[in-house]
C-alpha cells in the first residue's frame, strides 16, 4: 500500500525540494511506497484530509487540532526551534509605531494561513480592531504581502515570523514591525493517521535519529530544519487547548 504524505501549504517555497527529498528518505526508512501530495490551498487540503486521503502530514497548529481531536490522528514530533510566531508590520515611513496607533478602516494584507491570521487579529484587539472594522486583502505568500504593503495596497501586513525574516534585506528594510508574537508553544507538527499505526514506532525512532546520521542531517537541512523533538500526548493536548482559547 502506498502512503500519502502532505505538507501544510504555508511551508516556505524555498524548501519545496526538501520535502521531495524527505519523501524519498521516508520510503527507504519504512520500506514502503510514499507519495507526496502538495496543495496550493488550505481548504483543498482539508477536504482530502477529511476524506481520509492523507496518512502523514506536516501540519500547521490549527489543522493539527482538527486532525487529533476530530480525526484520531496522532502527533509524533515537532521541529526544534521552529515556533510559529506572527509579525505585524507597516511601511518603514509610516508614522504609526505601535498597534494602538492603528485605527478602524485600515486595510490588512494577509494570507490564508490560519495560524498567522488568527494571531494577527488577536494582536490587533488591543486597538479595538476586529473583522468588522478592517478590510482584508488575501495574498498567496509573504513576499506578496510585503509587496502589497510597499506599493500602498495595504496599511498593515500579517507575516509568519519565519516568512518575514526570509524577505530580502531590501524589502524588509522598507518595512517596520509593530509587534512580534512571543508564544513559543504553538508550532507545526508531524502528524500520522490511523493507517500509519504499524509504522509509528519505527518512524518515530528514525525521525529522532535523523540529526545523528549524516544523510538524515542533509535531508533536514534541505527542509530548513534543525531536528525533531518528541511530542508527548499531553504536550499536544496542551497546544490544542491553547489554540482552542484563541479561536471563537
Amino acid at each position: 500500500m502506498t502512503l500519502n504524505l502532505s505538507v501544510s501549504p504555508d511551508f516556505p517555497p524555498a524548501h519545496l525540494s526538501g520535502w521531495f527529498i524527505f519523501n524519498t528518505w521516508l520510503q527507504r526508512q519504512l520500506g514502503t511506497g510514499v507519495h507526496l501530495e502538495l496543495y496550493d490551498g488550505f481548504e483543498e487540503q482539508r477536504k482530502d484530509i477529511r476524506n481520509g486521503k492523507i496518512d502523514l502530514i506536516y501540519a500547521n497548529p490549527y489543522d493539527a487540532s482538527m486532525l487529533v481531536r476530530e480525526l484520531g490522528f496522532k502527533v509524533l514530533v515537532r521541529p526544534r526551534n521552529r515556533a510559529d510566531e506572527t509579525v505585524i508590520a507597516v511601511r518603514q515611513d509610516d508614522e504609526r509605531n505601535s498597534v494602538e496607533d492603528l485605527e478602524s478602516g485600515i486595510t490588512i494584507a494577509t494570507t490564508a494561513d490560519p495560524d498567522v491570521h488568527t494571531m494577527g487579529m488577536i494582536m490587533l484587539e488591543s486597538a479595538d480592531l476586529d473583522k468588522n472594522n478592517v478590510t482584508f486583502r488575501e495574498y498567496d505568500n509573504y513576499v506578496l504581502v510585503a509587496k502589497a504593503l510597499l506599493n500602498g495596497q495595504a496599511d498593515v501586513g500579517f507575516f509568519l515570523k519565519a516568512g518575514y525574516d526570509e524577505l530580502s534585506d531590501l524589502v524588509r528594510s522598507k518595512t517596520k514591525s509593530l509587534v512580534n508574537s512571543q508564544i513559543s508553544v504553538v508550532h507545526h507538527t508531524l502528524v500520522v493517521g490511523p493507517r500509519m499505526q504499524e509504522h509509528v514506532e519505527l518512524l518515530t525512532e528514525r525521525l529522532l535519529g535523523m540529526e545523528e546520521d549524516p544523510k538524515g542531517r542533509e535531508v533536514l537541512k534541505s527542509m530548513g530544519l534543525d531536528g525533531w523533538d518528541l511530542m508527548e500526548e499531553e504536550q499536544t493536548e496542551f497546544m490544542i487547548d491553547l489554540i482552542d482559547t484563541l479561536i471563537d
Binding site: S126, S181, Q182, L242, D244, T245, L246
Partner: protein, 153 residues
C-alpha cells in the same frame, strides 16, 4: 498607565471562598500588558495552579514555586466583583468557554488588566483541569470593565 492611577497604597483584607483570608497590600499602579505575549496557566479541577508560563511569572511578580500548588485566587484583586468569577465557574462547569476582562493583583500590590479565556481540559471524556490564556485588552474595554465592575461590587 491608567489616567486615574494615584500610586496610593492601602491594605485590604481579602477573604476567599474557602474561608481563608490574607491582608494584601494594594497599590494603585497599573503595569502595562506586554505586547505580543500570552499569559498562560493551567489549574486542576478545583482551581489550584498546575502550570505557569514565563509571561505569567513575569507579570504576576511571583516565582514559579510560589504559584504552583496554590489556588488561582492568589491573583484576585479586591476591585473585581465576585459575580465575575461566579460567571466564570458556572460557565466552565457546563463545559463551555468563558471570556472576560479581569483586573489582577500582582505580588507587589500593583495591578494588570487582561482579556482572559478559560476552557475546560477534557481527556478521554473526563475533566482534568482548566486552561486560561490571557491577551492584551484595549483601553476602551478596560474603561468599560472598570465602570461595570464598580456597579457590581
Amino acid at each position: 498607565m491608567s489616567e486615574h492611577d494615584t500610586g496610593s497604597v492601602r491594605e485590604v483584607l481579602i477573604k476567599y471562598f474557602d474561608s481563608t483570608e490574607r491582608l494584601a497590600k494594594i497599590v494603585d499602579r497599573e503595569v502595562p500588558y506586554p505586547d505580543g505575549k500570552l499569559i498562560v496557566s493551567r489549574t486542576d479541577p478545583s482551581g489550584v495552579i498546575t502550570h505557569a508560563n514565563r509571561a505569567f511569572i513575569e507579570m504576576s511578580g511571583y516565582a514559579r514555586e510560589e504559584l504552583l500548588g496554590v489556588n488561582h485566587y492568589i491573583l484576585r484583586h479586591p476591585d473585581m466583583p465576585a459575580v465575575a468569577f461566579k460567571d466564570l465557574w458556572d460557565t466552565v462547569a457546563q463545559g463551555k468557554k468563558w471570556q472576560g476582562y479581569v483586573k489582577n493583583l500582582r505580588k507587589d500590590g500593583a495591578y494588570y488588566w487582561v482579556k482572559a479565556t478559560v476552557i475546560p481540559n477534557i481527556r478521554n471524556g473526563e475533566l482534568v483541569g482548566y486552561t486560561s490564556v490571557r491577551r492584551k485588552p484595549s483601553r476602551s474595554k478596560i474603561k468599560e470593565s472598570e465602570a461595570l465592575y464598580e456597579t457590581l461590587r
